[in-house]
């Protein structure tokens, strides 16, 4: 069955075959190629060549090892020195500019003192050795002198109370004489619980149910999860700092001339402002002023600091004395928190200054009233 397609295909194949047969014969230019001359050598000759290019280590007699001299008067080598880890200096320490290697770590490195001795058996983690008690049905309240919306775990016993968490830093050994570093102590926020825990509500410590047979070890992934309290120790302020930093970044990345109204304030921006003030709003829950709701007004400068005075615009839920007390607490919160935690003013987007130049803030402690 002849079709135009089969005819075209047959003609094309025929032309291709003819070109393959005849076409190369029509080309007169030789193809470019390189020629490399090689020399065939035997295995013995190759061994001699290799031997000539590498030093002969077998011909030199190795020197005899010196016998170790044991000084009886010298102090014995302690296990701590052997296992002392190579402690990296704190991040704040600037390495010396020259290439002089740093001096070795002293033997009395405080970190080495806590390293386990090599001959001591490794102890299992406490969690693994503890009996597998059934979890209590609900978390036990933890009493604390400070009550805040976000819990904070008790700080280390030797840590100072501060708004900013810092790690303890020891001065490194002076690599150069002019390097002087002051030691800094660990600092941690004051412990805080999320609710008032009276003595009557303090857990007795007795287990609610009898212990059960130990179950299989939990999966490594679960063990890697940090304890809830440890997370709580870092998260609240971290979250706040992150929110504040995000607001700072947002403000810095979108500079706008003053007076230009940007997009509306986002919920996150308003919320970070609210959180910033609430951190300093100290509520006396046993006071009659707990039933008082007040509204204050104030103005902010472009730097986020209060301009002028904080004014009481409305108050209800108590007599004038209670309203005045509540106003004093609110004013202290607003004025104190503008420089809380090292801030120099509330962190708000500068391109939206027109929207937060004037602020009207209502303080309603009804949710914190003792019930």
């Amino acid at each position: 069955m002849r079709t135009p397609g089969s005819i075209i295909s047959g003609v094309s194949h025929l032309l291709l075959i003819l070109w393959l047969i005849i076409g190369w014969e029509l080309s007169h230019d030789p193809l470019d190629f390189q020629v490399t001359s090689v020399t065939v050598v035997s295995g013995d000759e190759f061994a001699q060549i290799v031997a000539a290019s590498t030093p002969d280590v077998t011909t030199d007699t190795p020197p005899a090892l010196a016998e170790p001299v044991i000084d009886e008067a010298a102090p014995p080598i302690t296990a701590e020195a052997d296992v002392a880890p190579d402690v990296a200096p704190p991040a704040e320490v600037t390495p010396p500019a020259d290439e002089t290697p740093p001096p070795p770590l002293p033997e009395t490195s405080p970190v080495a003192e806590v390293a386990p001795a090599p001959d001591q058996p490794l102890s299992l983690p406490e969690a693994a050795a503890a009996p597998d008690l059934p979890p209590s049905p609900r978390p036990q309240p933890r009493p604390s002198d400070r009550v805040a919306p976000t819990p904070v775990a008790p700080p280390p016993p030797d840590a100072n109370i501060s708004d900013v968490v810092t790690e303890a830093a020891e001065p490194d050994q002076p690599a150069e004489a002019e390097v002087v570093e002051q030691p800094s102590e660990a600092a941690s926020p004051e412990a805080a619980a999320t609710e008032i825990v009276t003595e009557a509500e303090t857990p007795s410590g007795a287990p609610l149910t009898s212990s059960r047979p130990q179950s299989r070890p939990s999966r490594p992934a679960a063990a890697a999860t940090p304890p809830a309290e440890a997370v709580a120790a870092t998260e609240p302020d971290d979250a706040t700092a992150a929110a504040v930093a995000a607001a700072v970044a947002a403000a810095a990345s979108t500079p706008a001339p003053s007076g230009q109204s940007g997009p509306p304030m986002t919920g996150a921006e308003t919320e970070s402002f609210r959180i910033a003030v609430s951190q300093c709003w100290n509520v006396d829950v046993g006071s009659l002023s707990t039933g008082v709701t007040i509204t204050v007004a104030f103005s902010l400068g472009t730097d986020g600091r209060v301009v002028g005075d904080v004014r009481l615009t409305d108050g209800s839920g108590g007599d004038q004395a209670a309203i005045n007390t509540a106003f004093g607490a609110a004013r202290r919160a607003i004025l104190r928190c503008q420089s809380f935690g090292g801030r120099t003013g509330y962190v708000l987007p500068i391109d939206k200054y027109d929207q937060w130049r004037d602020v009207e803030m209502t303080f309603d402690p009804s949710g914190m009233r003792l019930r």
Binding site: D145, R146, V147, A148, P149, E190, A192, I196, V197, T198, E199, A200, E201, T202, S261, P263, P264, M265, T270, R274, V277, S278, Q279, C280, W281, N282, V283, D284, V285, G286, S287, L288, S289, A297, A321, N324, T325, A326, G328, R331, R332, A333, L335, R336, D354, Q355, R357, D358, V359, E360, M361, T362, F363, D364, P365, S366, G367, M368, L370, R371
Partner: protein, 443 residues
């Protein structure tokens, strides 16, 4: 034509509608509502009081210490150690370096000065709101005696406390209590009086007989208490200044106990056992007239007047278990307000009038608790082997009570706790102490 015009204007109208909220958001102030704060002690700075005359420097440190202890003892304040101070106060009239005090997070600054002339002591102070950069209230000057410097310190602390918290004062007050010595099975008991913080203890009676439940009069000049010196419980009225006393008249065979003054101090309500039945009576101190207020076959005791004197709260076992009831000050049908599990007793009406404190026994433990006057919002503040007998501070903010430890060697002590349940602490006394009754603020 109309359709074309509508087609062209629709996007413009839609854009205007979208922009409308943004435009309105720019008008007016930014409005924020805060519903959650923190509960923490307010840090204050209290430099040592400045001596303005020779010899007064001996008392400046003691004065400042008492003031600081008063404030910090409430749990509402925290003293900033002087070692943290950046600037020093050298003159009472010198301008305040607010920035230095803000830098150490001092929210309140108290600056005082002391001068003496013979036995006369003059104390003056100023209170500053550091973050507002202004004085909080006006400066105050008080005149007293050197021997009474603690009272003047309490006065200073009261002013500071009141100005910052808005609460009524209570530091310059006294507590009458039962001082106990000796083993548990042979205790010697005396009526004693002390400052609210446990200082200046004075004994009003000897240890010749068992004494119980002293109660301050509203003016603080008299004390009611129960004594067994006749072999039966009798109520005595004691004059604090002279230690003179008189027995509340009772008939032969009657036993009276658990007395308490009315708010005007002219009447006494108490329990009287007559014919094997215990009921609540009221006696007019001026006329000696008795009025029986309850007449149930059950035991009614521990009465306490409401602040306005119109009602009485008391405990009764008429339901089979001790519970708390309220009735009119003239008697009448009582209504039960305690509805929880366990036994309720020793109710005391708050000076504010909003709460009733009580002792509760439940599940083998004793509690001090508070509830609304209708019995709602019950809150237990303490829990121990034996807590009982709450008494209110003059401002209704703090409770004192007795706490006894377990065992034959168990001791009884006085504790205090904030009405919020925070700041539970022992009142230090020279010996064991029980049955506290908080007196009024001293003039």
């Amino acid at each position: 034509m109309f359709k074309t015009l509508t087609f062209l204007l629709s996007p413009i109208l839609a854009a205007l509608l979208l922009l409308a909220p943004a435009a309105s958001a720019q008008q007016g102030p930014l409005r924020i509502t805060i519903t959650e704060g923190v509960i923490e002690p307010l840090p204050f700075a209290l430099p040592s009081f400045l001596p303005e005359t020779a010899g007064s420097e001996m008392i400046t440190a003691d004065l400042a210490r008492v003031v600081a202890d008063d404030l910090a003892g409430t749990g509402l304040f925290r003293q900033i150690p002087p070692s943290a101070f950046i600037s020093q106060v050298t003159s009472f009239a010198a301008p305040v370096a607010y920035a230095d005090w803000r830098a150490i997070n001092a929210q309140a600054l108290i600056i005082g000065a002391v001068s003496t002339s013979g036995d006369q002591l003059v104390v003056k102070f100023r209170l500053y709101d550091v973050f507002s950069g202004a004085e909080l209230g006006e400066g105050l000057q008080m005149v007293g005696t050197v021997s009474g410097f603690r009272r003047m310190a309490h006065k200073v602390a009261d002013e500071v406390y009141s100005r910052i918290t808005g609460e009524q004062r209570y530091f310059d007050s006294r507590v009458v209590f039962v001082s106990e010595t000796g083993p548990k099975d042979n205790r010697l008991k005396r009526i004693a009086i002390m400052d609210y913080d446990g200082a200046n203890v004075q004994y009003l009676t000897d240890a010749g007989s068992i004494v119980l439940a002293p109660r301050f009069s509203p003016s603080g000049d008299r004390v009611l208490y129960t004594s067994y010196e006749s072999g039966f419980p009798r109520i005595y009225l004691l004059d604090v200044a002279t230690s003179g006393r008189q027995q509340l008249p009772t008939e032969a065979g009657e036993m009276a106990f658990s007395p308490r003054f009315s708010r005007d101090g002219r009447q006494v309500i108490y329990s009287l056992i007559n014919g094997g039945n215990t009921d609540i009576y009221r006696t007019d101190l001026a006329t000696g007239q008795h009025t029986r207020l309850t007449s149930a076959p059950s035991i009614e005791t521990a009465p306490s007047f409401s602040p306005d004197g119109s009602q009485i709260v008391f405990e009764s076992d008429r339901s089979g278990v001790q519970q708390i009831y309220i009735m009119s000050a003239d008697g009448g049908e009582p209504r039960r307000i305690s509805l929880g599990e366990g036994r309720y007793g020793t109710p005391v009406w708050s000076p504010r009038g909003d709460l009733i404190a009580f002792t509760k026994q439940n599940a083998g433990r004793f509690h001090i608790g508070v509830m609304r006057t209708d019995g709602s919002e019950e809150r237990l503040l303490t829990a121990s082997f034996l807590d009982e007998g709450p008494t209110w501070s003059p401002n209704g903010r703090v409770l004192m009570f007795s706490r006894e430890t377990q065992g034959a060697e168990g001791l009884v002590s006085i504790y205090s706790v904030d009405v919020s349940g925070r700041n539970l602490r022992q009142v230090v006394t020279p010996s064991s102490a029980s049955d506290p009754s908080w007196g009024p603020l001293q003039p």
